[in-house]
Structure formats: structure tokens, C-alpha cells
Symmetry: C2
Subunit: 415 residues, 2 copies
């Protein structure tokens, strides 16, 4: 079965907001065997929304709509849906009570007419109760298609997808099984990889396909399959995965579904009961932030000294001024001292350090833009590597973070 | 004039990758007066791409396509474009030379046939030279519509948009002027704001419109206008902005186009030649990372102690163990000690601290999930506030970061 996602809002089209809702919905639907056929982002414009709804209804079984449900004048989704379904808005008492309760937390005044309007829903709709906000979701059955309207606020939308929409789709639709298996490779480019595994790829069964997802410093290979029969599909994925591993097993460092490098590192440290600290200069705390954004980080992550200014490297991390003067602040020696000293200061088993110039101009050092050093301290050794990276600031930071985690991963594995 | 963005790739539809390309393109086009009518994300499927191209050509003047230009078998955009335009692929010698040079950096071997194919382009296309990668962009003029094909790798696409596509659109199309002005408000909800400014909003001239963009802890108001006459438009935006400021001037903390809170704080610190440090617990370095992700951070940002583990608060930040035992690690007292001590340790004018529980389970303290303290140290005072936040980990962290920057902003302004 197929779904289409329609995200509504001028802010998406002028690039003020990145549409993260679609990726979330795509991922959740994919887990239950629903293929997203298309994602369409449209303006807050009635005619445009109407034509997007009409086109989507021709293509798919379920249309998931986000946005335009706020209480203000630019929010027109509800009125547009009324026109599309030739329906009227009616007050839902349960929603009204909920809206009143939400506002009572902030004020003793009675709620305004604008907020009362949040309780208006299409008469044909099944209300999806939104405990996270004032705009309810709506599930509307048309002749051949179900339309679901949800607020665009990400955490409200996520609640409705997880608690209301996905369970309903599971109950009301027959869906094939979909399996994706993603292999994360490192140290090899997309085209070289393609040549190594080309013969295997050509012989894949018809219901499987392979995608190459190059990202900073690594290429992910995603093997996807679809079938009515779950066990058969699992078997064929297993057989083909084994063949792939025979060809490029040494280039693969992670195998599971959605695992990024930071998740793999986190799991490995937790399993081995080892701890980590970081001393970050140009990466500005990005490694710490990535690791702590996932629950459970306190099991292995003790902290970081973000030593953006040179004096912090000296005063907090105790990097000898002599080394900085002799080799420059962007150097192998400083990277090693930072890793060693943060490991000692925070009493951890492993440590990562970064020092470099991410641009756009030269900073405290003479290093060229894109010159970075990554230091690693393990229980038995300390070393640093140099990278000369191209591209803009964000890319230099991201590649360095990936490279640092990759280096650390290998060290933990071997320790 | 109107544009449509078509992003191609299964990874977008299964939610493995968030489509950040569209927001970048939307923002750049918007600056030069091109309205993005729709964003469409489609699968790596020939029939689907063909129908998306056909539909888009009916709607807009320029169709910008990203993705599917890699050297591997799942990349089918070039062949699909050939079918759409009834064209053939021809080798472009300049591109071939460039591809060869790129590979020479990594290997002495001659390049493979797979990589040579990167130099094949549609015979009808004007080649947009991509110095950042192997896949060239293509500019293809059809009867009433221009199609532009670009790689999906973000930094390659960004280079082509900035250096090739935007200059060409400026040369070849007449475009109206578009102005957006965004006001960032704080401390008031969307509906209360709507009531305050409703009368003003109702009387806005026809070529202006207003959007409410609620995000964590603040609501942005975006006033947009479109006109053939730039100066007339500037005047009317100026007049209406002044009226708005008269009504809610005290609720607005930022006024410029794309400025987020961190940009406003960074500018203010730089202007006043003041410095900042952070001591972050549950935010894990997020504040440091946000600030240093923008160029120029070294002007005011010295660093951060990410004290995720309690022992790092004691050993590195010198928070007295007694205070932690008496008040718990998630407390006003600890937040204040963290802010004060990082200010002293890193010798800065201002400091921010965070301690709290972002969940999903209780950590080192007895604090409920969502209980957070934010500490602020200025040259003249130290204080901390408590917030009880709902929602998931990511939301708790993001709201806290916003709140911390908001508090800091007010203090810098008043200092």
C-alpha cells in the first residue's frame, strides 16, 4: 500500500524551516510496510492545497497532511479540507475541554474565541486526540483514500503518528512486509564499491534492491526487500547479506538498520563498560552533543572541555604553552596533549580531541582552512592524525566528527 | 515567476535522510524574487520521475532537480531525463578531464568505466561545471520551462546553486521583488499574539501577508511582500513594521531577516566586545556547538566545560560536593555554582550553565524528567531559574537552550 505526505506552509517553500516531519513519518510508515510514494510541500494557499489533495488521492491509499492547523489567520488547512470534502466544521466538546485545560495552566482568564476555534473539526472526521497541543488530528475516510490531518509542530505530529495514526493504519490496511538492511562501509568511495559488488548486485532477486548512500567519509549500502511473506523475505535478505559480507566484509563496520556511527560507538563503550571524554576545539562541542543527544549517554560519557580559545587549552586542559609556540595550536602535538590531558582530567578510558581550522578565515593559528588534527587517547596509547578537508565550515566539522568517531571505534574494538 | 523543486531518492521517502537541499534552494531563490510553488520528493523510479517532471512543467517556469546523478545503478536521473527530452547522452570532454583530475588525487590507476560515465551529459544541456564533485549540473531549456539537474550531495548542490544556477536565473528571467521581514517575539503564545495584532493584520495591504511561526519558546512573525517596484515595497513594509512595533514593540527581541536567537546573541557580544563560556550538563555541549557553528565565534566564545558526569562538576568545575549533597545535582544552587565557576575558570564576562534531567529516565539525581535549571553569570550578578518542561529529550534540550540564550540576551542588553 502507498501513502503520500503533504506538508503545508510557506515557511517550507521559502526555506525558513527544514521539513523534518516528512522524514519522521516516512520512517514510521516504512516500519509497518507502507511505502511513501511522494512527499509534496505546498504553500498556505487554498487552490494549491486543493489540487495537491486531488492529485494525491489518485495516487495513494493514505494521504498524511501536516500543518496549517494553528489558531491564526494564515492557518487555512481546516477550511480547505471542508471545501474538499464538502463538509462543515462542528465543535468537539472533548477537544474544547482539553483546550480549556491546557490554557488553565497558564492563565485564570477564560479562553479566547480564537482558541475555542481549535475545537472545531470536520463533521465527517474521526478526531485523533492530541494531548500535546490544542490542534486535534483528524482521520477522514473518503471513497478510496483515507486523509489524515495533523498539526505541523513536530512533537505534536510525532505523538499523533506514533499513538494514533500508525495503530489505525495497522488495524485498517493489509500491508506487505518491508525489510531494509543497511551496511555502513568506510574507507572506500562509491564507485570503487560499485565495481567490487557489481556482479552480486546484478544477480539480486527482483524483489530486492540496493541503494548507495554516500555521506561524509563513508558509504552506506541499503538492501531493501518487499514481500507478502515475511519469513521468505527474511531468508532471502539473509542469504544476500552473507554473500555481500563475503565480498566486502572487511570494509563494513556496522550492520544494523538505522545505526549511525555514534550509536555504534555508544553501544560498544557501554558493552565494554568503558568511559569517554572529549577535548574539542573547532568542533565546538559537536561530538559531545551528538553522543549526549541519545538516552543512556551517562553510562559512558563523562564530559568535554570545549577549548575554543587557545588560553582555555592552556589554562583548563594544561596544554604546555611551549608546545603551542613550537608547533602551533593546530598541530599533531597539541591534539595529542589535548587528548591525553582530558583523559586524565576527566578520568576516562578513552578520549578524543580536535584542533583545526574550519574557516572561513584563519583563526588563532597559521593553519590553512580545512587543516585539522584529531587526537585519540586509549588506555595504552596516544596518537593524532592530520586531515586536509575541503568544503565549507559545516562540512569540515561534520567530516572531522565522523573521522574522529571512526578512529575511536577501531581503537575500542581492538582494546 | 515560479519554481518547483524535485528531490529524487528513496532515502528521502523512507526517512533515512532529511531533505535539507530544498530549504537551501528555497531560501536562495526567495532572495532573488523566485517563488517556490511546490517541493516534490519522489522515488528512484523512472515512471514516477517522468510524471513529476511533466506535472511540474505545467505549473512553473523553472524546475530544479536534485539527486540520482551518482555513478551507481540506483542513480537513474540522467537516463530518465534523456527519455523525457527524447535526447541522448554525449561525452563532455571538459567534464571528463575534471573527473580524471579528481581521481588522480587519490590513485595512480586510470579511472574506471563507471567513473567515466560521470562525463556523459544530455546533448541538449548546457553543462554547469561542478568543481566540488564528479557529477556536472545540467541546464536544459524546454518550450516554456527550464529544467536544472544537480547532484543531491548537499555541498555540491549548494556550490552549483550559488555559482551557476542563481546567476543564470538572474540573467534570463524577469522577477518581482520579494521582501520578508521576520520579527522574533518572546514570552507570548501564538493565539494571544494574534489577538493583540488582529486588527492591524486585517488591514494589511493586499500584496503583504503575515505568517506566525511558533517554535520552542518563541513565535516568529514573518511579514512578506511581493511587488514589481522595489522601493514602493520597501516603503510599505517599513510603514507596516512601524505600526506593528507600536503595538508589540516590547515583545520583540530581534527584527532581521533570518536571525535566530544565537545569531542575535553572537552579534551583541561581538559589538560589546564581551566574552562567553558555558558549563553544560544535560544540554551536552549543544549551546557551545550552536554558537561555534557560525563563523566569527572566536570573537566572543572562549569555550565550555561539558560536565555530564557529576564528578566532572566537582573535579573540573569545582562545584562543592557539599552543595550537591545538600541540594541535589539538579538544583538552583548547582546551576549558579556552575555558571560562576566556569566564568572564573575561562575568564569570561558572561557564562551560561545548565543542569537538569532530559529523560527518558532519572539520572544522577532525583529530579523529575523535564526539571531543568539554567544559570546565568554576568559581570555583576549570578542567578538561576527553574523550568518544568514537557515532551521528549530532544524537545527538553532545545527549549532549555533557547531559554538560556533568551535569558542571556536580556542580561547582555541591560549590562
Amino acid at each position: 500500500m502507498f501513502a503520500e505526505i503533504i506538508t503545508i506552509g510557506d515557511e517550507l517553500l521559502i526555506g525558513q524551516v527544514v521539513d523534518t516531519n516528512s522524514a519522521f513519518i516516512g520512517k514510521e510508515l516504512n516500519k509497518i510496510g507502507v511505502s511513501v510514494y511522494q512527499i509534496t510541500s505546498v504553500q498556505d494557499n487554498k487552490q494549491h492545497i486543493l489540487s495537491a489533495l486531488k492529485e494525491a488521492a489518485k495516487r495513494v491509499d493514505v494521504v498524511l497532511i501536516t500543518g496549517g492547523l494553528g489558531p491564526t489567520k494564515d492557518d487555512i488547512t481546516k477550511h480547505t479540507l471542508c471545501e474538499y470534502f464538502n463538509d462543515t466544521l462542528v465543535q468537539n466538546d472533548e477537544v474544547l475541554l482539553h483546550v480549556k485545560e491546557l490554557f488553565k495552566r497558564y492563565s485564570d482568564n477564560p479562553i479566547s474565541d480564537i482558541n475555542k476555534q481549535q475545537a472545531l473539526v470536520l463533521s465527517k472526521a474521526t478526531v485523533l486526540h492530541n494531548i500535546k497541543g490544542t490542534a486535534p488530528g483528524m482521520w477522514i475516510k473518503d471513497t478510496n483514500t483515507v486523509f489524515v490531518s495533523m498539526p505541523g509542530v513536530p512533537f505534536e505530529m510525532r505523538y499523533l503518528i506514533t499513538e494514533e495514526v500508525v495503530p489505525r493504519i495497522i488495524r485498517e490496511f493489509n500491508r506487505p512486509h518491508i525489510i531494509h538492511k543497511t551496511f555502513v562501509t568506510y574507507g572506500i568511495g562509491e564507485s570503487a564499491l560499485a565495481e567490487l559488488i557489481g556482479q552480486w548486485e546484478d544477480k539480486l532477486p527482483g524483489n530486492l534492491n540496493l541503494a548507495y548512500l554516500p555521506s561524509l567519509g563513508s558509504v552506506r549500502l541499503r538492501l531493501s526487500g518487499k514481500s507478502e511473506h515475511k519469513e521468505e523475505l527474511e531468508d532471502v535478505i539473509k542469504v544476500e547479506s552473507a554473500k555481500l559480507l563475503q565480498i566486502i566484509g572487511d570494509l563494513i563496520y556496522g550492520e544494523e538498520g538505522e545505526d549511525n556511527l555514534e550509536v555504534v560507538v555508544a553501544r560498544l563503550l557501554t558493552e565494554k563498560s568503558k568511559t569517554l571524554a572529549t577535548a574539542e576545539s573547532f568542533t565546538g562541542g559537536k561530538i559531545a552533543e551528538m553522543l549526549t543527544s541519545k538516552p543512556g549517554a551517562s553510562q559512558y560519557f563523562k564530559g568535554s572541555v570545549v577549548s575554543y580559545a587557545t588560553e582555555v587549552k592552556i589554562n583548563v586542559l594544561n596544554v604546555p604553552e611551549k608546545i603551542i609556540k613550537e608547533y602551533s595550536v593546530v598541530s599533531e602535538q597539541v591534539a595529542m596533549a589535548m587528548a591525553k590531558n582530558v583523559q586524565k582530567l576527566l578520568k576516562t578510558d578513552f578520549a578524543i580531541s580536535t584542533t583545526g581550522n574550519a574557516g572561513p578565515t584563519k583563526g588563532d593559528s597559521d593553519a590553512d582552512v580545512g587543516t585539522v588534527f584529531i587526537g585519540i587517547a586509549t588506555p595504552t596509547k596516544i596518537f593524532a592524525i592530520k586531515e586536509q578537508l575541503g568544503g565549507q565550515r559545516e562540512r569540515i566539522v561534520n567530516r572531522s566528527v565522523n573521522r574522529a568517531l571512526e578512529l575511536l571505534y577501531k581503537e575500542i574494538l581492538e582494546s
